[in-house]
């Protein structure tokens, strides 16, 4: 079963969204994870819990509340309008915001774990070698938490590709703008067009499998080392 133009547009859009979201997630998640891994403030626990919260709500429900919040009467909507950005729902950037919100815990968790695992010693060493906090972060924390970044990127990307409920709710299913592969497959299933659903799903699976395989390759180096540091 060859892919329709709609299918192709959905695939392209999905890749664009997932890449954008992954980049933004890493940009936002890194400072949050770093702050969480370093702070001793009592603030830490509530913030960590807050970050994990999107996990427990069903995506469609999150989507529903995001729709309300980003609407003309909602706080986010008022803010974006005040900024002159207009309203976010039914736009690509609306999907980006929703997906980022929804996938944040999957990015913060592995980054936080990786950063905690570094321990203090490498940072202490770098400080005695005249590295400023920012320098230490770039030259020590980032490279040493590379496995965490790879996991974070994989989870963030994959979760955005597979995400559905939120997108369905705030996307509005606009071809080439908000109609993602996940929505497209769902539509095929709902419309009882199973064979189209099958071929699109198979394509996604194969593609994702290959991507994941490649990513595993990148992170492979970290194994097979001796026990000491």
């Amino acid at each position: 079963m060859p892919l329709s133009n709609d299918d192709l547009a959905a695939i392209w859009l999905t890749l664009k969204l997932a890449s954008t979201v992954t980049v933004i997630l890493l940009l936002i998640g890194t400072p949050i994870a770093w702050w969480l891994s370093q702070t001793t403030s009592w603030f830490k626990r509530p913030v960590a819990a807050l970050v994990a919260l999107p996990l427990v709500l069903p995506p469609t429900v999150i989507g529903f509340y995001l729709l309300v919040a980003m609407g003309p009467q909602g706080p986010i909507g008022q803010f974006t309008q005040w900024l002159g950005l207009g309203l976010l729902p039914f736009t690509f950037w609306g999907l980006v915001v929703g997906s980022v919100f929804y996938s944040l815990p999957f990015v913060v968790q592995p980054l936080y774990n990786a950063m905690t695992a570094i321990g203090l010693r490498p940072l202490e060493v770098a400080a005695t070698l005249r590295a400023s906090p920012w320098d230490r972060f770039i030259t020590v924390v980032l490279p040493l938490s590379r496995p965490g970044f790879i996991t974070a990127a994989v989870l963030g990307f994959a979760h955005t590709v597979g995400e559905f409920g939120v997108v369905l709710m705030i996307g509005g299913n606009i071809p080439a703008e908000t109609r993602l592969v996940s929505v497209q497959i769902y539509d095929h299933v709902e419309a009882l067009q199973y064979s189209q659903a099958h071929s699109l799903s198979a394509l996604m699976l194969v593609f994702s499998f290959i991507v994941l395989l490649l990513v595993q390759g990148v992170s492979r180096q970290n194994t097979q080392r001796k026990g000491h540091g």
Partner: protein, 230 residues
């Protein structure tokens, strides 16, 4: 085991009221599930233990019949849906608003929901299909379409009349009841899933649906009953 009924989203509200009354009167417990009709077909095909299926259209019950999953001869229209154009906050001007400068128009996905295909017919009849298409936002089902409009993200949208009815009256003034000649009638059919017709509660429920009380409720949500004037 209660009577399990799968109900298309647009019929959720009337069904809740009907089932409530039925439980009271008959003592049979009823369990309702709401969702998109297409999903129910997939589920029922794969053994979902529903006894009755109230679809939003005619083709899906037909598909179940064709697959031999539904009880032959049990397909029947239980309501005829009415389409409304809803534009909270402004006057729809008998549909003329569709010519004006709005940002987004919400409708149900025409591939999935009969209210969506009805909306497409209306736009086609009004010669607005091409000019409006770029501003469509499609809900997965009619409930989502309603949310798009209700949250203000779409200024107007085609929804089911039933969604705007409350206690037999329209909740809002800013509606345009689309004239029925602009779209084919939305026949909503139900089927009995195989074997379920042997259950006493199935029969009792189907009978109760024919009762004046049930008819009254269905009508109060803006549906037309089969055989009635459109």
């Amino acid at each position: 085991e209660p009577l399990k009924v799968a109900v298309a989203s647009n019929f959720a509200a009337p069904m809740l009221a009907i089932a409530d009354e039925f439980e009271k009167q008959s003592g049979y417990p009823v369990s309702l599930a709401f969702g998109a009709s297409g999903k129910f077909v997939a589920q029922i095909t794969h053994g979902a233990p529903f006894h009755l299926f109230f679809s939003a259209d005619q083709s899906k019950p037909q598909a179940l019949l064709d697959a031999g999953i539904a009880q032959a001869g049990s397909q029947q229209t239980y309501a005829i849906g009415k389409l409304v154009l809803w534009s909270p906050g402004q006057d729809p001007q008998q549909g003329n608003i569709l010519n004006g400068p709005y940002r987004k128009l919400a409708l149900a996905n025409p591939r999935l929901a009969p209210y969506g295909s009805a909306a497409v017919s209306v736009l086609t009849q009004l010669n607005l299909l091409q000019s409006s298409k770029a501003r469509w936002v499609q809900g997965e089902n009619i409930a989502q379409t309603y949310q798009f409009v209700q949250s203000g993200n779409a200024e107007l949208g085609f929804v089911a009349l039933s969604q705007l009815m409350h206690n037999g009256a329209l909740d809002t003034q800013h509606t345009w009841l689309v004239p029925s000649h602009l779209y084919p009638p939305i026949y909503q059919d139900r089927v009995v899933i195989r074997n379920a017709h042997e259950r006493a509660d199935t029969q009792a429920f189907l009978t109760f649906l024919q009762s004046p009380y049930a008819a009254q409720i269905i009508r109060s949500f803006g549906y037309v009953l089969p055989g009635q004037d459109q």
